[in-house]
Amino acid sequence: MFMTKTILKNLLTKYATRLYPFQKREPFKHSKGELKIVMEKCILCGVCQMRCPSQCITVDKQAKTWKVDPFACVYCGVCVDACPVKCLYQESLYRTPLAEKDMVVHVQQPKEAAEPAAT
């Protein structure tokens, strides 16, 4: 009885939901999404690895690699805040679904090799 007004209003207004794959909502500007790195800026200090509550980041100074397990990342953004050179950032969208689990590995190129390539 009391619901009638709401029902009539619902019939006369547009859908509350979106037709998802065809109509997507723009993500909010500061949403915490997929973790990314600008490897050239990284100093391999390992602060992100130390601070990460889910221990999803592995930094190897010897091999100059920065690894993240995207399935263990909890999108808290602690590493992004802690990074001393601000080389980490979060996209505003979640990562796309994958059929198989995979590690994301970034290898830092030696600077000597990178410089001649740039000139």
Binding site: F2, M3, T6, I7, H30, S31, C52, Y75, D81
Partner: protein
Amino acid sequence: MAKTVLPFGPQHPVLPEPLHLTLAIEDEIVKEAIPKLGYVHRGLEKLAEIRDHNQMIYIVERVCGICSCMHALCYCQGIEALMGLDVPARAKYLRTIWAEMHRIHSHLLWLGLFADAFGFESLFMQFWRIRERVMDLQEETAGNRVILSVNQVGGVRRDITAESAQWILDTLKLVEKETLQLKSTILDDATVKLRTVGKGVLTKEKAYELGAAGPTLRASGIAQDIRQTGYAAYSELDFAPVVETDGDCYARTVVRFKEIFQAIDLLRQAFAKLPEGELAVKPKGLPTGEVVSRVEQPRGEVLYYLRGSGKKFLERVRIRTPTFANIPPLLDMLPGCDLADVPVLILTIDPCISCTER
């Protein structure tokens, strides 16, 4: 007629989480209820041994999927007390703002689930549609919809700009208007009242004796709200606990419904008084000593006991959640009720089993 033993749960359409009750029934009237918990125990307290006190913030947030922000707030308050930190005023207000947003979305979620429990599915969808507006506010301001990760030891990690604040206040007007439109449906409808009025009465004396918490306690006529102790910015805001005296399912619904408007009012007050200043102070030293920290969650009082011995890792983290306190009152309500009312009764304590088992 002889008693029949009927298992209720752990898998039941009304329960989003596994709670098992062994019901002894006679002619479809419940005579006794025995709970069994432990289906979703994750050992989060034990993790304090291998995660340092800063990483633990993000672990205690995951104790509960609904009131995550309040868990982190309670934990951070405890650590700050151990370290002797003075949190900046702006951070206190921002913590209050996020906590109250959480209260609105939790109560809207509960009202929806409650409507669904007695078969009013269209009302469930109406409440959840309103809730989505609050979820958007949380995502825009904190970056995540539920697990906000905004608290840190010494303050907060994010700021709310004046532009966002205006948008929040505008959205709250809509939330208030739309929730008010549903007031007569949930509180005055004869069919709904048949399922709630006079069901599962918890007397004032029993509520006190059994240690009920939150809306379950306040619906029985005891005006106790941990926010009155004045943590975060609550000491500077004007509010009184929402109290009902009947102690039945209807009274608990009314308390939660009114608390949505109380939270909206608190948010408006907090934005009006929001001071300028720093977001966080840098923590110095390591947590030493022991402390009990308390916060009012949507479901009631959460209690953290923390013990540190001057190391990076805490010696002990003990979490007592409101649902744990509300299970004895639930067992008191169940005997004497119809079997058909059991799902509705269980929902009126707003059970959060993941919280309880941690």
